[in-house]
């Protein structure tokens, strides 16, 4: 069968080209800012999806991964003057270490709801820890004046750099999913006993997925702080958490590009949510409920449906004799 250009591939390519050219096409600074946020949140949501949807690990703490990466990178850059690029890497590593230690290892012995609770506590306790360490982390005021990626960085530079990071990280996630590790995760998710009987080391795979998820999200955190210039415990508040959940849900949990699609809708949609004012959170809560009740497969469900329709149209076109 000839490997033809599917409509999906065309759509993806077109979108990427659009994003790459946008600064020259329209170049609205605020819209570029939203795009950068989208890149970062797409990374967070995709990694969260890797953990929950693919490896089947019920984690509620991924915002913490972002925060640890961001704070680590910001503090190192501010206090020690290390190049932000290296700080971002260190931020990713810091997040990876913290998460593997506090979530990864316990996850080896805990299951389902316990991991969910532990990860919730993990993320929930970070604001308290931040407050206690206010000398280094700035407490509830947060960190400010974090150096940008390079001196004199402008929004358009950040746009392309973070877009590139977005592409690279998504590619890495894609490779992980389609590697033997990825298959191992999914086997564990779907049937733990069967997978273990095949020799899949549950321990190794669980740790790996936590490590990758935390590392990549931590790196996103690093880019986040060196772009925005500050970070505070509000990143760990209920709203970002709900937004991230909504992104995954909307995209369809366990389907690779789903989280990215969800991020598009939620990040851009959030701008409209602002208009709702105080009802913002109520609306967000309602959206989450409605999606999980009526569209559990998320947007990917829609994509699948479109796929089917288009395949049928193609079939009819290529076999006109049969009526």
């Amino acid at each position: 069968m000839r490997k033809h250009l599917t409509w999906k591939k065309i759509a993806v390519l077109a979108s990427l080209i659009f994003i790459a050219l946008y600064p020259f096409l329209h170049g609205n600074s605020y819209v570029m800012h939203i795009f950068v946020l989208f890149f970062i949140w797409a990374i967070v949501a995709s990694n969260w999806n890797l953990l929950m949807g693919y490896a089947g690990i019920f984690s509620l703490g991924n915002i913490g991964f972002l925060a640890i990466g961001g704070y680590t990178s910001g503090i190192l850059a501010k206090s020690f003057g290390i190049s932000p690029w290296i700080c971002i890497l260190l931020g990713g590593l810091g997040s990876m270490v913290a998460v593997t230690l506090f979530l990864g290892f316990p996850a080896l012995r805990l299951s389902g709801i316990y991991i969910a609770l532990l990860s919730l506590i993990f993320a929930d306790s970070l604001p308290s820890i931040l407050t206690q360490t206010r000398k280094i982390t700035g407490g509830s005021m947060g960190l400010h004046d974090i150096p940008p990626l390079f001196p004199g960085m402008e929004r358009i530079h950040a746009y392309y750099i973070i877009f590139a990071a977005f592409l690279v990280i998504l590619f890495v996630i894609y490779r992980i999913i389609h590697s033997s590790s990825g298959l191992a995760f999914m086997a564990l998710r779907d049937s733990q006993d069967f997978a273990t009987s095949l020799g899949v080391s549950e321990y190794k795979e669980k740790l790996k997925v936590f490590a990758w998820s935390a590392f990549l999200t931590g790196i996103a955190g690093g880019f986040y702080v060196h772009y925005l210039g500050d970070i505070s415990p509000t990143t760990l508040a209920i709203e970002p958490f709900l937004l991230a959940i909504a992104m995954m849900e909307m995209g369809g949990i366990g389907r690779f590009p789903g989280a990215v699609l969800g991020a598009v809708i939620i990040v851009f949609g959030n701008e409209f949510l602002r208009l709702a004012g105080i009802l913002r959170l109520a609306l967000l809560g309602a959206v989450i409920c409605l999606i999980i009740l009526f569209f559990p497969g998320g947007l990917m469900q829609l994509v699948d449906w479109l796929d089917l329709k288009i395949a049928r149209i193609r079939q009819r076109r290529s076999a006109p004799a049969t009526s």
């Binding site: 389902g112 206690q132 209920i238 009802l279 809560g285 989450i288 999980i292 009740l293």
Partner: protein, 308 residues
């Protein structure tokens, strides 16, 4: 030797300024909050034990019950007991409705463990903010049941607090009776312990789930009312109560009512001790610490697997 120094030295375990009187007051205070926590933890336990769903909207349910009672009390001018009764009955039907409309369909699909939690989380946020809209952010409280206090030896207790403890004891006894002596209560225990066995004896699983959910919601609403007489309320306080509830049920053993009750008292007293020795700022870190320790060392909690 100055007298105050010697009395605290006799106490032995207390730092400088604290006395035996403070210690006993803290114990009593902790016991009372423990009782309130116990009433709150039971609803969470029933839902998890019978349906294996973890109610991430637990906090807002308690707040809802409390606000409901407050509403009937203040706006409709009903008496305390009618307000409480109507609130609980309303919560019961609310629970039935929610179960049938949302939880039941979610349970039929795969990934229900996850989807029910996400749903309840989102729904809780929705309700919390709707309550905020409806009632505003200013604190509310429900008036105490009795006025006045008594003083025994070192301790000063409000009559209201005494009544709270007695109410909770009555509540726990009533629940125990319900679970052990009524057919529907026994059915809930059967489904919690061995669902296949429940099917074999002809129990309607779906009906048992919906009733368990409704009873638990009503119980949680009731506990919210009790809490509302002691603490100031805003819609957001549900989160605090909920997180404490989570710690308690894991500490006691998920699914065990006995564990939840013991856990509530133990942790209530632990909280009071922490406030006494470490100060109010350390209360949350202590709750977190206990939670982490339990999850790492003995996730099955006190009850160790025994369920309703």
């Amino acid at each position: 030797m100055p007298p105050s120094a010697s009395s605290s030295r006799r106490a032995g375990i207390l730092p400088g300024r604290l006395t035996i009187r403070d210690l006993i007051n803290a114990l009593v205070s902790g016991f009372i909050s423990g009782a309130l926590y116990a009433s709150m933890a039971l609803g969470l336990t029933i839902i998890y034990g019978v349906i294996h769903v973890f109610n991430f909207g637990h906090g807002i349910v308690a707040v809802l019950g409390a606000y409901g009672a407050w509403l009937f009390l203040t706006s409709l001018g009903l008496g305390m007991i009618p307000s409480i009764l109507i609130s609980c009955v309303a919560m019961f039907f609310f629970g039935l409705l929610i179960y049938k409309a949302t939880i039941h369909p979610l349970l039929q699909k795969p990934n229900w463990e996850f989807s029910t939690i996400i749903f309840l989380l989102g729904f809780g946020i929705f309700l919390e903010n709707m309550l905020l809209q409806a009632f505003g952010p200013r604190v509310k409280s429900i008036p105490p049941f009795f006025e006045g206090a008594i003083e025994i030896a070192f301790v000063r207790i409000n009559w209201h607090e005494v009544s709270l403890v007695l109410i909770v004891i009555a509540f726990v006894v009533a629940l125990h009776f319900f679970l052990k002596k009524t057919w529907i209560g026994q059915a809930m225990r059967a489904v919690a312990q061995e669902m296949d066995g429940a099917r074999v004896v002809g129990i309607n699983i779906n009906r048992t789930f919906s009733l368990a959910f409704a009873v638990a919601i009503a119980a949680t609403g009731f506990s919210g009312i009790l809490l509302g007489t002691k603490y100031y309320m805003t819609p957001h306080i549900g989160w605090d109560w909920m997180v404490k509830g989570f710690v308690i049920v894991v500490f006691g053993g998920l699914g065990s009512a006995t564990g939840a009750v013991y856990g509530a008292f133990i942790l209530g007293i632990a909280e009071a001790m922490a406030t006494l020795y470490l100060g109010a700022l350390w209360v949350w870190p202590v709750w977190f610490f206990i939670f982490v320790i339990i999850l790492l060392l003995r996730p099955q909690g006190i009850a160790g697997g025994r369920t309703l």
